[in-house]
């Protein structure tokens, strides 16, 4: 019973918050609604018995979106005094989202421990004695090992590409020259001067 109720709750909030992502005028609000939508989608996945995907949604999407949000704040020309002034005004909304998320977390865990929803048509029956994560791991490192390694090369190419496109050798930097530093002798670096009284000296 609790699963069914949880399903409808999560599904409604996903759709409603997804709509709000589009309708919100303030981009910061849109991101907030987006996080709420991801969180509820994760709840749905949990109900379907795919706890690994649920975790991915939270860690990757919510985490990544939070970082993206940070970037937006850094890149946009936002007056921080104004932003801080808005903090109090937005506090109720932010607090509301936080409370909903916290409540859902408790709720989803309760529903999950009560057992998953029986989906009408599953493509393949899951082996009951193994967790999703274990099964995905086994497939990834045996059957799909070639694709897994190739995906690693794709990431390497992406990294090389980012360096090719953005790396510049800047002039005027002062790198360490360890050999020169070690070779330096007191007589190269110090000199004795005998300044006249009241004349000062030039370095």
């Amino acid at each position: 019973m609790i699963q069914l109720f949880a399903f409808y709750l999560f599904a409604t909030i996903v759709i409603a918050s997804a709509a709000m992502v589009i309708f919100a005028r303030n981009p910061v609000h849109s991101v907030m609604w987006l996080i709420l939508a991801f969180f509820n989608a994760a709840g749905l996945m949990l109900l379907a018995g795919a706890e690994f995907i649920a975790m991915l949604l939270i860690i990757v999407y919510v985490g990544a979106v939070a970082v993206l949000f940070l970037f937006v704040v850094m890149m946009l020309d936002i007056d921080f005094a104004e932003l801080r002034a808005g903090f109090v005004r937005y506090l109720p909304l932010g607090a509301l989202v936080a409370v909903i998320l916290a409540a859902e977390l408790v709720f989803a865990l309760g529903a999950w421990s009560a057992g998953g929803i029986d989906l009408a048509a599953r493509a393949a029956p899951a082996t009951p004695d193994k967790s999703n994560i274990q099964q995905i791991g086994e497939l990834l490192y045996t059957r799909y090992i070639f694709l897994f390694e190739a995906a690693g090369i794709v990431l390497l190419v992406a990294m090389i590409g980012a360096i090719v496109l953005t790396h510049r050798t800047r002039g005027g930097v002062r790198p360490q020259k360890i050999a020169d530093q070690v070779r330096r002798r007191p007589q190269d670096a110090t000199r004795l001067v005998d300044p006249g009284v009241g004349q000062g000296m030039e370095l």
Partner: protein
């Protein structure tokens, strides 16, 4: 597992060689052009040797995600050869701007294309395609201080991501409705009842791949990217990735979608006709030789698709032969473009500047004329032979109207090729005279490919036909 590893030597060599080249570039510095260039060329040659050594082996490795067969081997040899040339010609073009990442990215792109050519699973297809595409986006904007190059890279990236999205959507539909990502499994499922979902999946997968071979109506990026990218990179784009994507499309269509011929054949026929006609008509007004060659590649992809539309073994043989001749012609013509520099050493790309080229660079003009006429498929030249094969395959598959339409459109296409030749041979010598000789390597490649395309190519028809027939027979 270790038995499987012995069958993917080409991929292993490319990966290790790419990493070594990267390390050489990082620690020896970008100035050591000869060093890292040599490393990358040796890597490609070794990978090609490994492919040749594996000829005759027929196996599926890594739980059916990858196929090792003659079809993939044929494509890989072409891809590696084209990549080899594109690395060899680069240092002279980039001069001071050559960086070690160029050969590294080409090596990894070649690795991705090799994976594409031997894919027999939708996931392998996607990983290979992305590996190739990611490297290509970066290569397009390799001269990042150049506005046109950056623009080309950005355009390619945005449109390429869109195409990847479409492809993934199609893949997810196919997987959802067939329950497998394996080509053979999909073919088995398609043998049954065809639902709307499957049809949509087929349409989206073909659309995503059509973008990669720049078939009309997914060709919009081609002229801009070809014009903006550095010329050696354009040479690369026009040759190797075309082969890989075309071979991949052939594998998907013949290997996975064969039972649903009613669904894909009309799409391929439409792509073929639209590409031939738009490639021919769009090229007419072009003033930039690289844009003209871009339209020419769209036009030629249309002809290759005619062979694929037949869907028979003969059609696939024609596709392979066409790809071989097309790659040689394209590399040759872009190498000629690479030779054209004005007195300050800047690249010349405008067609009017070629006026009277035959009077002061007769060899270069003659080679260009051979390449253009061969691209047009004028009979005495070797470019005629694959066009003939393609039309023959279409006629034998009862696609006579398609063949007739293709022949008519190829006559339109001949117009603009001949217009360029007229500019080179019969126009007044232009003020902006081009000069600057090539080096021995480029001159040799141009001369050999021009000779091969003129008449000598016909001597190789026998072995070539045997090789393509052997490669194509794997799929049937």
């Amino acid at each position: 597992m270790s038995a499987d590893l012995a069958l993917i030597w080409p991929e292993l060599i490319l990966t290790i060689g790419g990493l070594i080249t990267l390390m050489l570039g990082t620690f020896a510095g970008d100035r050591q052009v000869g060093l890292y260039q040599l490393a990358s060329l040796v890597t490609l040659a070794a990978a090609a040797v490994a492919v040749i050594a594996l000829f005759g082996t027929e196996a599926t490795v890594f739980s059916g995600t990858l196929a090792v067969d003659a079809f993939g081997g044929f494509a890989k040899l072409l891809i590696y050869a084209a990549s080899f040339v594109c690395i060899a010609i680069a240092p002279r073009f980039f001069r001071d701007g050559m960086r070690a990442e160029y050969p590294v990215l080409i090596l990894f792109a070649a690795l991705g294309m090799g994976i594409m050519a031997s894919a027999r699973d939708l996931m392998t297809l996607y990983v290979g395609l992305e590996l190739n595409s990611l490297a290509a986006y970066v290569l397009a904007s390799f001269m990042r201080t150049d506005d046109r190059s950056s623009e080309a890279g950005l355009k390619y990236f945005v449109l390429g991501s869109l195409a990847s999205g479409m492809l993934l959507y199609g893949i997810s539909l196919l997987y959802g409705f067939t329950g497998t990502t394996d080509f053979a499994g999909i073919a088995k499922a398609l043998g049954g009842e065809m639902g709307t979902g499957l049809l949509f999946g087929i349409v989206f997968v073909i659309a995503g791949l059509a973008f990669k071979i720049s078939a009309v109506p997914f060709h919009m990026w081609t002229p801009d990217v070809y014009e903006g990218a550095p010329t050696p990179v354009t040479t690369f784009f026009a040759s190797a990735p075309k082969v890989a994507a075309m071979v991949l499309l052939t594998r998907v269509i013949v290997g996975a979608m064969a039972p649903a011929i009613g669904a894909w054949q009309q799409i391929v026929i439409f792509l073929a006709l639209a590409s031939i006609i738009l490639g021919a008509v769009g090229a007419i007004g072009q003033k930039n030789i690289k844009r003209l060659l871009a339209y020419s590649s769209i036009n030629n992809v249309g002809f290759i698709l005619i062979g694929l539309a037949a869907g028979t073994q003969q059609g696939v043989e024609a596709v392979l032969s066409y790809l071989l001749v097309y790659v040689v012609t394209t590399i040759g013509s872009f190498l000629v473009v690479l030779q054209l520099r004005d007195r300050e050493g800047q690249q010349v790309e405008s067609i009017p500047a070629l006026a009277g080229l035959s009077q002061y660079r007769p060899g270069l003009a003659a080679a260009m004329a051979v390449f253009l006429l061969s691209l047009a498929g004028i009979p005495p030249l070797f470019g005629f032979w694959p066009k003939y094969l393609v039309f023959e395959a279409a006629v034998n598959a009862n696609l006579v109207p398609l063949a007739v339409a293709g022949i008519v459109a190829s006559v339109i296409g001949a117009f603009y090729y001949i217009a360029v030749i007229k500019t080179m041979y019969f126009d007044e010598r232009s003020e902006a005279e081009v000069s600057g000789g090539g080096n021995i390597l480029e001159g040799t490649i141009v001369a050999v490919s021009a000779l091969w395309l003129s008449v000598i190519g016909y001597l190789f028809i026998g072995p070539l036909a045997t090789a393509s027939a052997h490669a194509a027979s794997v799929l049937f």
